[in-house]
Symmetry: C2
Subunit: 112 residues, 2 copies
DNA sequence: TTACCGATTATGTTTATCGTAATAAAGGAG
DNA sequence: CTCCTTTATTACGATAAACATAATCGGTAA
């Protein structure tokens, strides 16, 4: 393996950014997603996401209408937020599945 | 289809950015890649990349050591540049193939 | 009280993306 | 030879995303 840690970081930043965003949508489709939990989950898969990246992302996906946010109103301003995939988010995820399939077919299976 | 053009643009910017970068590496493995040609090729696949994005990207991949650049020295300063995948670039591409497979297995095939 | 844990929020710096305009060389039409 | 189009890259300014780190807040345990 010629790739060192700097290369891996570059791959992450340059290319894999979108991959774990898909993971988030995927998880949000299965059940509620929480920022910190997701950071830990992704860390397990080798992605090291800082809060300064994760939380603005979730807010953005919420603003785009792909994720819905629920928070206990009785709790304080920093209580955990649960994110769910919306109908629009499902559409986006389905579209992305098609894109993944295409990429997989072309690059991994080397067809077409 | 609920997704409108704004959504598609968001998907592109938020997630698919890495996908066509992989396409570039993939093409560079098959033969020389030229900026403008790549922009047209990607446009055919629905990705609309502006020169202000493409050329800095190629320069960056070159600087990372994934692409090698050849340019006819006799020609002027804006002569076309041909990019080839380096050994390190091959490593990166192979690593990415694994990542694509994993993503495909989990999200598309819904396994694991 | 104090200390820690689960979570989010705030913030400042760096880097990428995008659109558009400028530049350069080469080839063809007249 | 000059003008125009085509093939390419380069330059640039504005917006936005990513990152690391520090601050905050509420709950629970010692």
């Amino acid at each position: 393996m010629l790739l060192n840690k700097l290369d891996q970081k570059a791959i992450q930043r340059e290319i894999l950014l979108g991959f774990w965003k898909i993971h988030i949508l995927y998880h949000a489709a299965k059940g509620p997603v929480i920022g910190l939990e997701m950071m830990q989950e992704l860390a397990r898969h080798g992605y090291d996401i800082s809060p300064g990246t994760m939380y603005p992302l979730l807010a953005r996906l919420n603003k785009l209408g792909w994720l819905e946010c629920r928070q206990d109103k009785l709790a304080g301003p920093k209580a955990k937020k649960e994110y769910f995939l919306t109908a629009l988010g499902h559409e986006a995820l389905n579209f992305l599945k098609g894109q993944i399939e295409e990429l997989h077919r072309e690059v991994v299976l080397d067809r077409e």
